[in-house]
Every structure is written in C-alpha cells, then in structure tokens.
C-alpha cells in the first residue's frame, strides 16, 4: 500500500522541481548557507493544521494545484517541503490533532471530550522553559477540541497546558445580546452535529480570555459579520493574539475542509482554496509583525488525507475511513529564518515527528513523544 504513496511523492516532487526550480535536501545541504546564523536564540513557532483532512489530488498533485495557488506561488519557494508524511494513528480529526500535539498516536474515542493521555508540546514547553499560559495559545474552530491544550498525564497537565480559544464559543458569547447574524460561522463539523450549550463557568472563562487578549466584542462581532467561514474567524483571532499577546507558541487548527463529509466536492475544494488563502495571509501577518518578523518558524500540514477514489470501502474524497495509503499520507511545509528554502524531502516521515522537532527548536524535551527529529529543518 505504500507503493502508491511513494508514486504520489514522486509526482509532487517532480512538479515542485519544475515549478520552483528546487532541489532535494541532500543536494541543497551543500549549497545554501543557513540564515539561522543570524537567528536570535529562541524563535517563535506557529503550527497550522491545514484543515480537516485534504488529499494530494486536491492540493499538490498536478490536478489539485488549481486549488492552492498561494501556497504554490508565495509559500513553497520559501519552504522545506516534506512530500511523504504518514499518519499511522486513528484518522479522526480530534484524536489525530491531539496526536500531532503530543507526538504520540493517541487512541481515545474521537467523539468524546477527552484530554490527550500523553503530554502536549504546550506542556513540555511551558514546564521546561517556565513559560506562563499566556505564552502558548491554541485556536481551534470546533467545540470538540476543548481539551486539546492539556493532557491528563500524571507528570504534566495540572495547569501546564495552553490557552485554548474556540472562536465559535466566543462568538456565541458575543452574540448573547446581539442579533444572531453570524450563524454561518457557528457551523460545526458535518459529522459532529451536536450543539453543546455554554455553561456559566465556561462563560466566565471566555470573558477572562477575551480580556487577556484585549478583544473588543464589538470589533469581534463586526469582523465576524464580514467573515465567510469559521476558519476566517480563527485567522482573525490568531492575528489579534499575535498583535496583543505575541505568544511564543501558537497552534491553529483549521477545519473548514471537513465540509467534504457532506459529499459536495465543490464545497470541499472551495474550502481548500480558502484555507490556502488563510495560510498565505497568516505568513504575511508574521512578516509584518515586529514581534514575529524574521524570528518565526511556521509549520503547515494536514492532519491526514482522505480516502482514495479507488478504495472500494470508501467514497473517495468524502470521508477518511478506510485507512488506505492516500488517507494516511500527506505533506508538511516548514519555513522560517532557520529553515532552508526551496528544498524537498522525499524520505517518509511520520506526523508524530513534528513534536520532537518543535521541542528541539523551542528548547524543551518532548520526553514521551514517539516521533523522530525532522533533521532537515534543524
């Protein structure tokens, strides 16, 4: 089954070489000097999960490139690009994202509000570097991601986690006394159509969070009225947090693409193009913000792919249920001042390799992670 993913990697690599004139990691190691020479000791890190499962066919494969114009034109030339990132865990969004954050394949029930059992990168960083919660933020659109910021590991957890913002909850709160005209942003995952009411305790906590990030509810609502999707709202929150709090570690989970579960191919590909734009805009925000410009590493990757058109047990792009090679194999793009530009890495890596790599860059020890270092970006 991994033969197919290997073939896919080759087609991506060939395109990237022809489009951007780039070489492989091995070739480039001997050529370009690292810009990391001028790097301050502790860079900032932003991770974006490229929303809700995206296949090669609709991203970097030749037939998919029409949907990601800005990744191709603006970001790829500045990035080290891994062509084969394999997720060997459970292909459910919450549990897979938790796995990305812990560097271990988590095995809990995807649909339950459960904290990861292994420590997250947020906890490693905060404990080892003695950082406050305000220095580590997670922005996730879906209510199901409430617990992703902190594990229940006995040696970690206990208030060592990230500050987690769910923009939809903020919007619900902001809308409390306003006209409910932002319904399009409260859309949840097609497969999780359960509405959970905000408890009084959660409302207090949201008020505190809004205060911490100096977020005016009026401004937030005004922006929400102009946004077309939950992920655009997440971008707004991310840009606001960068402006007002400037955390060292920011994790953004995008999710619009998961509209694919409704079976409408046009909505799925529109969401990919929207996500493409969000990622490019975020990179621009990084470059224009003095707290981040020139000292921020950005990692972009889908949590996993979606089923192959040819898997008889699936229904193509609609779901990610078969566990076939294409649903498990995806890509990762990394860029920043200490990361080589215009390089592809063809060796297979795993999605759990992200955490030890981030830990290395952030100067902490991801001791329970099962992944290996992505040495090409260190």
């Amino acid at each position: 089954m991994f033969r197919m993913s290997c073939e896919r990697a080759i087609s991506r690599r060939e395109f990237l070489r022809s489009a951007a004139g780039i070489g492989t990691a091995t070739a480039m190691f001997f050529g370009l000097p690292l810009r990391a020479a001028a790097l301050p000791p502790m860079p900032k890190t932003i991770v974006v999960t490229f929303g809700g499962g995206a296949r090669d066919e609709e991203t970097f494969a030749p037939e998919g490139q029409r949907y990601i114009p800005r990744l191709l034109e603006e970001l790829i030339p500045q990035a080290t690009f891994y062509t084969q990132v394999v997720n060997r865990g459970i292909l459910g969004h919450y549990v897979a994202n938790a796995g990305l954050a812990t560097g271990c394949y988590e095995t809990f029930d995807n649909f339950m509000p459960i904290a990861p059992s292994n420590p997250t990168i947020f906890e490693y960083y905060r404990r080892d570097r003695q950082r406050p919660a305000s220095d580590v933020w997670v922005i996730a659109p879906s209510n199901g991601f409430d617990h992703i910021g902190e594990s229940n590991h006995t040696l970690y957890g206990h208030g060592l986690g990230a500050t987690v913002v769910l923009p939809k909850q903020l919007l619900t709160l902001a809308n409390h006394h306003a006209v409910a005209d932002c319904d399009q942003l409260l859309r949840d995952n097609y497969e999780s159509p359960i509405a959970s009411p905000l408890t009084a305790k959660r409302q207090d906590s949201l008020h505190g969070m809004a205060e911490l990030m100096k977020l005016s509810m009026d401004d937030f609502l005004a922006h929400a009225r102009k946004s077309q999707s939950p992920d655009e709202l997440s971008l707004y929150i991310a840009q606001h947090v960068m402006q007002t709090v400037a955390p060292s570690l920011l994790w953004i989970t995008l999710h619009d693409i998961d509209i694919a579960h409704s079976g409408a191919f046009s909505l799925y590909t529109e969401a990919i193009t929207r996500t493409d734009s969000i990622c490019a805009d975020l990179w621009k925000s990084i470059q224009s913000n003095p707290e981040y410009a020139g000292k921020t590493n950005l990692f972009l990757l889908p949590d996993f792919g979606r089923d192959s058109d040819m898997s008889p047990g699936g229904n193509g792009f609609q779901h990610h249920r078969t566990g076939d090679a294409l649903s498990r194999t995806t890509w990762l793009m990394a860029m920043g001042p200490n990361i080589r530009q215009s390089v592809t890495v063809d060796r297979p890596v795993q999605s759990v390799d992200l955490v030890p790599t981030l830990a290395h860059l952030l100067g902490c020890n991801a001791r329970f992670s099962r992944g290996s270092l992505l040495t090409e970006v260190l």
Partner: protein, 407 residues
Amino acid sequence: MIASPASLQSSDFAKYPSQARDLAQRYLPTLTRLPVAFLAVFLRELMGYDWQFPVERAETEAQLHTLRNRGDLPNLQQTLARFDSLPIAPCFQRTGWAAQPSRAVEEMTAFLWSAGAMDAFHVAGAAYGDQLAQIRVQQEKVRDRLCIVIVGRDATGEQDLFRHLRPHGICFENVSAGGGLKAVMSLLEKRAQADPVPYAHWYVDGGETHDSGARAGVNSISYGDLAPTRRNLLQYMVTARSLGSVGPEELRSRMMQMGPTQLGNSQGGSDEVLRHFELSVLKEGAGTQIFSTTFVQWTARELLRRARPDTLVLRYAPRQADRPMNELISVEDGEQELDPRGSLVDAEMGAYYTWINLNRLHGEENCRFISWHESGTTAIAVSPALAKGTVSTQTCDVEQLLHWSLG
C-alpha cells in the same frame, strides 16, 4: 469470557426479520465456525436479507454455501485466518451481541482503530473481496450494462468538463441538447421492456421525477419525491442535536434502527425492497438528506454495489446553496437558494465516481457509460465501441451519441 461464535444459538437471531432468521438458523453450524470479526460483518449484511435485491440474496446464499464448504477451499481458509488473527474486541464478551450486529461492528471498528489493527482488518476484507468476486463470476452471466449520467441542469459554464473521464473515452464538445432527455428516457424504457428483470433498470433524479408517469419495468427514485421522509429524518436529527447528549455515532446507530414506518416512507409503495433501499440511502449516506447532488451520487453507488443494474440513468439537479449546519438540517419549508454552478462541479465528480463503481462490476469491459451536460454542449462517452482519450468537435445530438456508444 468471550462469547465466541461457537456459543451462538438460534435464539440470538430471534429478532431478525423472518427470512433472515430462518437462513441464519439453517446455517448455524457454519456460522459458529467463523472468525468473530468476520461473523459480525457478515451477520450485519445477513440481517437485511428480507429486503435485499434478488442478486444480493442469491449472493448471500452462495456465500453461505461456500463458507459451509470452506474445508475444501484453501484460499478461503487462508483469508478467514486473517480475520482470526485480529485482536478480539471487548464487545464480543457480551452475550447476545449477535442480536445487534450493526452495533457490534461499530464497536469492533472503533476498537480495531485504537488497537492499530485497522489496516490488518482492511487487508483481510480485501482478501475476502477477492473471494467474493470469484463467487460472483460463477454466479452471474456477463450483463450488457449501460449507465447515463445527466449533469449541469441550469449551469452553463463548462470549461474542462469531465477531465477525469476524458482519458477513457471520446469527449464530444458540440452536442445539441434538443430532444436529449427524451432520447435517454426512451432508451431506458426500451431496455426495460426488452429485458424485464426485476430491479435491473433504474432512474434516479436529484429533483422531482422527470415525467412522473410510471415506466414499465423501471424503478424510479427522486430526491424531491422523498421530501417527506427526509423531513422526518431531519426532524429526528434536530431533536437529537437540541438534546446535546447524543453523540454522532450514537445518533447514527439510532437512525440505522429506524424503519420505513417510523419515518413515514411510503414512496416505494407496497414494494418493501424499494422502501428499505430508499431509506438506507437517507440513513447511511452522509449528506444525502441535505444535498441533492450527494443523494444522486450515493444512490448510484449503492445501486451499483447492491442491485447491479443493467440500465442506470442519473439526472442531477441544482442542490441548495451552502448554509450553516443548523439551517441545512432545519425542517422549515420555504424557498431555498440554489447553487447550479457548484452542483455542476459536484455532479462532474459524481459522474466520475459512478464510472469507477460501474467498473467494479463483473463484465466491466462491456459496460457503456455516457455523461452529458444538459445545459451545455459537452458529453463524454466511454464504450468498447469507441476510442479513448479523443475529442470530437463534430455536431451531434444525444440520440446519435447513444447510438454510437451502443455500437
């Protein structure tokens, strides 16, 4: 204690529909010797025996016959051994799990994912799929299948249409639409009359049924005609959503247990097989309740997988525009904004998936496949009688296209 297949009893099938119960009880000694992971999946299918299409029923019986003689079939033994080597899910410790095989399969797959054994389960499933293909080859004569997919009602833009299908057939870029629908429907009727096999000729519409007069020998399903059933199902989802206590998997399990009577589905009339099929499309297909394009694509997939028709005509209609989930599943009546352009994109992909599913059937080399943009000028025809990967700019109409495709 594991409630192994060996501990299965006749009483485990007491709540199965009558014909399924009789069949399970008749083959009890065979069933007790099967690996539990295989058995759970097999029983889930067997439980629907009373409402299966004729070809499915014949296949279920042929499978049972083959499984009874597994000792003489080393390849089958080897395949079943793959299922035997899977870790056993805790749900099988529950006495009486076989009474609700759907629930057991859901719990088992969740367990296999968490145990990292899902890949092995899929490999075992694919190996059994190969065995099943052999059973089909022995059982079925090669059919002369025809599938026509009409896309793009009210959508005019058509750049690069049918890009996935172009390498497999001739793309006609100058097709006159006049009389096209009539020609397709007339061919459908002719084929149904010439070979009046039950459930062999189908018409699926994403809007209201075209020209609603009944066609002899043709089974028709439409998104529009199923509106009352869809509404009842959505009402159930809205209620579950407002409770906030039923998770998506539990909701799905509950929906799966609902029958036509509970959902007021009388579209299939007295045809129980048809009524159950319609309901299964709405209950099991994600998005079939809210988007007509998904409804058509999923219905086609299920018909090709289950009924394996000789003639299948699909006609896509514009689906409702995207809205927030709570609005999409709301049951209020009213004018809906439509998205013809997005629907054309959906339908184009749906046509490609239908062609893939058609090619999964025995005798695929004789299949004819046509997709036609009814509000444009493009069509694609894939047929053993036609060249592959070519483009024709010759002016033609749909009737000619059908004639050339059928050779």
